[in-house]
Amino acid sequence: MRSAHIVLDGHVVAENLSLDFAGGRTTCLLGRSGVGKTSLLRHLAGLLPCTEAAGPVAYMAQRDLLLPWLSVLDNVLLGYRLRRDGAQHRAAEPRARALLAEVGLGDRLHDLPHTLSGGMRQRAALARTLCEDRGIVLMDEPFGHLDAVTRLDLQDLAAHLLQGRTVVMVTHDPLEALRLGHEIRVLSGMPFSVGPVIAPPGAVPREPGDPALLALQARLIGELRRLS
């Protein structure tokens, strides 16, 4: 991403911003609410006015955005349905089934989303995002509104399924960034600037109880507080 300007409702969110994301790795962008994390992600997805997507991306928003009239399986295959490519659709179906089995929804393929719990819906949304098979995965606080234990479960699952993909995830939760990010960057200020790369040691998903992780979490929280 080179020399980007992000403007939202007349406010300059970011000026002359250049960022590199490590290929095949997960980059977590950490910042407090309102700093412009979501705008940055929408900029990358080409969803802001006058922006182009950074390439073929799969986008996972804060809400699961499952279509209530489609079964779980059809929701996961939504991209193929919308592109109306029958051959690709058929080719993707076994993968969709496999992904749903991996996220633990193998027995709910034909159920409508309103019969699922919040955690299950988010897992279905994760499967849909991965089924798109795009080069870049953009995730906007995908587990933000789940309860703490479900969130940890889904982080483990996501870390496993996102292996080898280029992922940009924004979050306001330092622990989430530390568990999932190969690289973490802190966003702060108005318009925001991006801090240096923080690369915590160890493979993802990192254990939430690891003392080194908790020390790093304390440091990140301190930094977020100081910066505002």
Partner: protein, 245 residues
């Protein structure tokens, strides 16, 4: 069960009121008398009711088809929205009922003028409910579709239309409730058959109990049409919580 008891209570009160006040049946017939006429003139009533039912049903179908088509066109085409939408909105200021005599003049005393009247009266609720639904698609869904490289046509058919079904379902309910009004007004203005026609005829001849019997059948028809539309509406949106569930 309770509303049924209330209804029976009201009918009993009506009977007692007529009896106490000594009203003549050509002013207000007691329900017992209406019941007798219902049985005695059943063949006549059913024959006339089949006309009215046909008018209501055809008017409902025609209004739903035309209204939905226009709503989809408005949702799909900015040019249509600019050139025609304001006109459709303003046309609501015309009291549709006032057009009834013209419809009879143009389409005759037969079924066509009543079907047109019923279709006309439900046209706007159908257009506005479906168009509103098509316009208010969750922006999150539209953005998701954009990241999936969906064409506008695919978005309309696969996201905006199904997303508008709950709004359309309430339009169908309203339409079923007002379609009988269109049919009956059409019959009052000029007809050779139908329950509305039977009502005006029997009132003119002082056969008030027969008019009441026709009115009873008309109420039952309206209820049946509404129940059918409600069932259809629920089947359209199985994922949507319904009133009264």
């Amino acid at each position: 069960m309770r509303p049924l008891v209330t209804a029976l209570g009201l009918i009993a009160a009506w009977e007692i009121l007529v009896w106490l006040a000594g009203l003549p049946p050509y002013i207000l017939p007691p329900p017992s008398r209406v019941g007798v006429v219902l049985v005695e003139r059943f063949d006549l009533l059913i024959e006339q009711a089949s006309w009215t039912a046909g008018e209501m049903f055809l008017g409902l179908v025609l209004g739903l088809v035309l209204g939905s088509a226009l709503a989809v066109i408005f949702a799909a085409s900015a040019a249509w929205r600019r050139w025609a939408l304001p006109l459709v909105v303003v046309s609501q200021a015309i009291p549709v009922i006032a057009i009834a005599p013209l419809l009879v003049l143009w389409l005759g005393y037969g079924m066509a003028s009543k079907v047109a009247m019923a279709a006309l009266i439900i046209f706007f609720p159908v257009v506005s409910s479906l168009y509103d639904g098509l316009r208010r698609t969750d922006p999150g869904w539209l953005e998701l579709a954009r990241t999936m490289d969906a064409s506008p046509r695919a978005v309309l058919l696969q996201i905006r239309l199904p997303a508008a079904l709950p709004a359309f379902a309430s339009g169908v309910r309203i339409a079923a409730a007002v379609a009988p009004i269109g049919a009956v007004i059409g019959e009052w203005v000029g007809a050779s058959a139908g329950l509305g026609f039977l009502m005006t005829q029997s009132l003119a001849r002082g056969q008030t109990p027969l008019a009441f019997a026709a009115l009873t059948i008309l109420c039952l028809l309206g209820l049946a049409l509404y129940a059918a539309a409600d069932r259809l509406a629920r089947r359209l949106v199985p994922w949507h919580p319904h009133q009264g569930d």
